[in-house]
């Protein structure tokens, strides 16, 4: 009897460890880096991690919706790039000689954000429509629209580079001398809104239903096409927002802005337990995934790992994290 009990206990501990694998990895990694470089665990770097994560989170939340629909979205990076350019144009000072839109005033920041989110949403409409209406696979649709968005960007911008400046990167307050910018607050607000949408609205429930069984959702009276389109609109808007934030953060908009952001976002989301099978995912998981990715990138900077090895580690961590996460869901036979 006792042997069975102790065996059970062992199984339970193993299960517990597996269930919390992600958090454990994060902790172990953090401890290891801290031992090597104590500054890693100091407040300035923690603030830094929060800031980096805050910048990446909105795009990840957008992609997460698409993945819950059992799809994906490759257009994120290029949409952000285009949106960054638009934001830069709208924000150009009125006297600026290089002003793209001659004359006029720079727009208020709130309006700029709305405008670029709307622009991103437009791409989302095309994405969602092609998927919902023509039953095309998201991979191929967004691969195509991504090309089209980049093409439009090149055509409109002629690869111009425009300096950007906005209060969103200014410090809201300081922690241990480390400034916390406004966009951290904005990311928190956005995350809250998306949480409510996912968990507290009809639309949110419909997303999960469509991702789980599209046919059943249709018969149950869900407007499947509308749901898909809206998910991609939401995603597009978040990419647009990301473009704005990134342009502000780096101080300019250029043609490489956003390139391959979507890959990091997708990786983070999948690491965070949102499954490509569709119908599963949690906001907390997405946050954890984004944080995890930033932690790794930052840890490598602290450890002085760069070059080829950095790629190998990044790839290996994604793979291992996903394997551990999947083990949690794998039904015992």
């Amino acid at each position: 009897m006792t042997t069975i009990n102790s065996a059970r206990k062992r199984v339970n501990i193993a299960n517990f460890l597996l269930d919390h694998a992600m958090i454990l990895i994060i902790l172990l990694l953090a401890v290891y880096v801290t031992v090597r470089v104590p500054a890693f665990a100091k407040i300035p770097n923690i603030i830094n991690l929060v800031k980096l994560s805050a910048a990446r989170l909105p795009m990840a939340l957008g992609v997460a919706g698409c993945i819950i629909l059992a799809g994906t979205d490759l257009s994120g990076g290029r949409v952000a790039g285009f949106a960054g350019f638009l934001a830069a144009v709208f924000l150009q000072a009125s006297g600026d000689a290089a002003r793209v839109i001659a004359g006029g005033q720079p727009w208020p920041v709130a309006l700029v954000i709305l405008a670029v989110m709307a622009a991103g949403a437009c791409v989302g409409v095309i994405n969602g429509f092609c998927m919902g209406k023509f039953k095309l696979h998201p991979f191929i649709v967004t691969l195509a629209t991504q090309l089209m968005v980049y093409g439009s960007y090149l055509t409109v911008s002629n690869s111009k580079q425009i300096a950007v400046n906005s209060f969103v990167t200014n410090p809201m307050f300081e922690v241990s001398g480390q400034p916390v910018p406004y966009y951290v607050l904005m990311a928190a607000v956005i995350t809250g809104i998306i949480w409510v949408i996912w968990n507290k609205t009809t639309f949110g429930k419909n997303i999960f239903a469509v991702g789980s069984n599209e046919e059943a959702a249709r018969v149950s009276g869900v407007n499947v096409l509308l749901t898909i389109v809206c998910v991609f609109i939401m995603a597009g808007a978040l990419y647009g927002y990301t473009g704005f934030i990134e342009a502000c953060r780096i101080g300019n908009s250029g043609p490489t802005l956003g390139l391959s952001y979507e890959n990091d976002a997708i990786s983070a989301v999948v690491i965070g337990g949102v499954s490509f099978v569709g119908g599963t995912g949690k906001i907390s998981g997405v946050i954890l995934g984004v944080f995890m990715m930033q932690l790794i990138m930052t840890a490598m900077t602290f450890l002085g790992i760069s070059g080829g090895v950095a790629y190998i580690i990044k790839g290996a961590v994604i793979l291992i994290a996903c394997i551990l996460d999947m083990r949690k869901y794998m039904t015992k036979k």
């Binding site: 690869s159 580079q161 300096a163 400034p179 953060r249 780096i250 101080g251 300019n252 043609p255 490489t256």
Partner: protein, 336 residues
């Protein structure tokens, strides 16, 4: 019909090259040559395929901004395509080889060919020289912790790009040469654990986002309070320099008219970098004359199409080496 030239670009997504492209389009238009600009999007194969197709379209000349800069094998294969179709071919901006002798041999193998550009190591060397001179002149002010060495960070644009490799190497080596000759200590990479002595954009896009993220992370650990503040920033291009400046500004450095300033150096002299230098938030960059290069390329191409002497009517100030290489020199840009 009017003559046409096919210009194959490394990428349309590069700010400096876009300025060359604008100038080149104008220069060709002025010579009555229709231009077919092609974007290789950073992929050599796209360029190779395009050139192979191009010779069948009835174009009169090939103008190539090689994707794999320094890859003589690729350059040779493209030159062979032109030669097979008996079309003039002009390479420009991105080097065809790391070795001038090798390049020379290649160009001498086909009369209707030329190269307009620079020695591809030159930008890095010049950046190193500029940094060396600047640091030497302001040594004490720059050495914030007064430990007698200047700690720096180097941002590399792409792990495997030959130009990035050269700039990463010579940007420091040449500066060190000047400093050590004057009896000062060589530059010291801020993080001893990093054996590569650079931080690289892992997406290979030379982007300001990468340098900005890195710089922000670095500044969380290295600052004046800890006595280990970064004292010098070197970037492979201006984008990365701007990204770093932005992170510095967030912690109160390099603001317009501000007092605390960490010198930041880039390459390319794109518009926003020049603006930053004017405002005093950036220190220096390396400039290659886009208009001059475009003019030289257009002139040589037109000559070759018309069957005239290659270099006829070329701007006198450009140095012509061995009947194949027109050197458009780099110049330092510090806003003066």
């Amino acid at each position: 019909a009017e003559d046409g030239a096919l210009v194959s670009w490394y990428t349309f997504g590069d700010v400096y090259l876009t300025s060359v492209r604008t100038a080149l389009d104008e220069a060709f238009a002025a010579k009555g040559i229709a231009v077919n600009d092609r974007d290789s999007n950073g992929v050599q194969q796209t360029q190779t395929d395009d050139i192979n197709t191009a010779v069948l379209t009835g174009t009169n000349a090939l103008v190539i901004n090689l994707v794999d800069s320094g890859a003589i094998g690729t350059a040779q294969s493209l030159l062979d395509v032109a030669k097979g179709a008996n079309l003039p071919v002009v390479f420009f901006n991105r080097a065809v080889s790391k070795d001038d002798a090798e390049a020379k041999a290649m160009f001498e193998g086909y009369e209707k060919s030329a190269f307009v550009g620079t020695n591809f190591e030159e930008a890095g060397k010049m950046q190193g020289d500029m940094i060396g001179a600047y640091v030497l002149e302001n040594y004490d002010a720059l050495d914030l912790n007064k430990d007698g060495v200047i700690s720096y960070v180097m941002f590399k644009g792409d792990e495997a790009n030959q130009e990035a490799i050269a700039r990463t190497k010579f940007g420091v080596e040449n500066a060190d040469a000047i400093l050590t000759a004057a009896g000062k200590a060589a530059l010291k990479f801020y993080d001893e654990k990093n054996e590569n002595k650079y931080l690289v954009d892992t997406n290979g896009t030379w982007s300001s986002v990468a340098s900005n993220d890195y710089m922000q992370t670095i500044l969380a650990q290295y600052n004046e309070a800890n006595g280990n503040m970064i004292e010098l920033v070197i970037a492979n291009n201006d984008d990365m320099a701007i990204g770093a400046i932005n992170a510095l500004q967030n912690v109160g450095y390099n603001t317009e008219g501000g007092e605390k300033k960490i010198p930041v150096f880039g390459v390319d002299a794109v518009e926003i970098a020049k603006e930053a230098i004017q405002k005093g938030t950036m220190t220096g960059t390396i400039k290659q004359d886009a208009v001059g290069m475009a003019d030289a390329v257009a002139t040589i191409t037109a000559n070759l199409i018309a069957g005239k002497d290659k270099f006829e009517g070329l701007n006198e100030s450009y140095k012509v080496v061995d009947n194949w290489f027109v050197q458009i020199p780099y110049a330092m840009y510090t806003g003066e």
